[in-house]
Amino acid sequence: MKQAFRYITLLVMVVAAGRAWAWAPLGHETAAVIAIQHLTPRAKAEADKILATNIKSVSTWLNTLRKGEATKHTAAWHTLHLNAEGLSTTTSEGDAVVQIERCADILRNPSQHSDSVKVVALRALVHLVADMHCISHVRIEGEPLTNGFRFYFLRGMAASKKSKPLSAKWYSHWQSRFFGYHQGFTAEMMARDMELCCGKHCEEYMKGTPRDWAADMGRVTRSALEGMEIDVVLNRKEINLHEAYHEQCLAKAGYRLAALLNDIFK
């Protein structure tokens, strides 16, 4: 009852969505579009029935709760916490995997929950599976850089000697920079491109559980952090090469969301 009340509170506390920066809206929508293409007909029908819409249209909903007085505690749900070995072992409520497991549990036991609770659980799950695949949402114990840091990069569009390094933040680097490389893209266009570049790994990416995926994201994050330090100056090539990580994570988010929903609604 207490849990149901809590989720219903969340449902009614939808505040106007401002510009949400937890993985650009396009990232969440892209992950959802990829997932839709890999859902079984049964999983798709179940998800659409619960939401009364498709998973793409609710993919950024959880971000709207971060600022609400009664729902601001949900801000902690967007982060993935890993131990020093890079494994997800936490049981703390302020963690993406714990919340994903909780939402999955609600959806696996539909008769025990009201429709409103299931709606909130599915909306949250759709968002958090994407968030846990965004490198800036990963925190690794003993890796202070995963708490975010500032770095500089050489703008160098015109290879001008006058161009001064620009300040950037690790967080926004992974949230929005690479979507800016493809302005004017829709989620459907982006999803198609992720299929083109990562489709061959689909089956491999879909294997495992959210805890396995968390460990995978720990490895990816550590790899992306190689050579990084606070105030490091990166050149354009180093920045550009990060795009491959971004693509891989975006594709994984979509495939794994489909895998999880297919398993829940099997």
Binding site: M157, A158, L166, G180
Partner: protein, 257 residues
């Protein structure tokens, strides 16, 4: 102090946006229009060599122009025209001549290594877009720039035209541009694609000259007469489509069965 920090942050953010030729948005539109006009064979070949779609690769050249070994490409984003709108024949400083070189090379693409086809395609996709951007025709002798104000803020001529697709339709994406504007008949498209990249560049040099006379230096965009703003919008829309059709034409020709 806080206000200063905010100002610096805002300036930094702005500096990272909209810094590309045609703007990333314009390039995506051109490539998306082209993609819709590709033969299935050409589309499949492009995606095979690029590992991505044509639109996804459209701005690659802007992000890699300062990185060795691509630094020489930094001069390939514009065409130079003399007072008679003839192209100045400097191969290393002219998008149209580079397009012709690349098309010639890709004619025998089966004999080229995949990496070279990939690179050539990325360059081609971008340069066809660039040569249809009003700010990417450079006149010799130089015509003084007519900068413009947008809501009171002075914007350089180059930046204004580069970001114009978003200025005229701020809520549109590449698909909306295509869905709203791609109404040309096959016959019209055939006419647009007639000629060579060099001839297209000379046509652009003739058309773009007019953009220096449309408004006074420092004029406020929102206060320009409606017919002038309409003409500017028409020019942008026509050129995005032309570039898209011509890019598709070149790619279809390269990958014809």
């Amino acid at each position: 102090m806080k206000a200063k920090t905010l100002l610096v942050a805002a300036a930094t953010l702005l500096a990272t946006l909209n810094v590309q030729a045609w703007g990333g948005f314009g390039h995506t539109i051109v490539a998306y229009v082209a993609e819709q006009h590709l033969t299935p064979e050409a589309k499949a070949k492009c995606e095979h060599y690029l590992g991505h779609s044509v639109p996804y690769s459209a701005s690659w050249m802007d992000y890699w122009r300062s990185v060795p070994p691509y630094k020489e490409t930094t001069h390939w984003h514009v065409c130079r025209a003399d007072e008679n709108n003839n192209l100045i024949q400097e191969k290393d400083r002219c998008a149209a001549l580079q397009i012709e070189r690349i098309c010639k090379e890709l004619k025998n693409y089966k004999k080229l290594p995949n990496e070279q086809i990939d690179l050539n395609l990325k360059l081609l996709i971008h340069m066809v877009g660039d040569m249809h951007c009003p700010s990417h025709i450079v006149y010799v002798p130089k015509i003084p720039s007519n900068n413009i104000r947008v809501k009171g803020k002075l914007v350089g001529r180059h930046k204004f035209w580069d970001s114009s697709p978003a200025t005229f339709h701020p809520k549109w994406n590449a698909e909306s541009y295509f869905n709203h504007l791609d109404v040309a008949t096959d016959k019209q498209i055939k006419k647009i694609c007639k000629g060579t990249p060099e001839a297209w560049a000379m046509e652009q040099a003739r058309i773009m000259r007019r953009t220096y006379t449309l408004y006074e230096n420092g004029a406020e965009f929102t206060k320009l007469p409606r017919e002038v703003r309409n003409e500017m919008q028409q020019l942008v829309e026509d050129n995005l489509l032309k570039a898209g059709y011509r890019l598709a034409y070149l790619l279809n020709k390269i990958f014809a069965k």
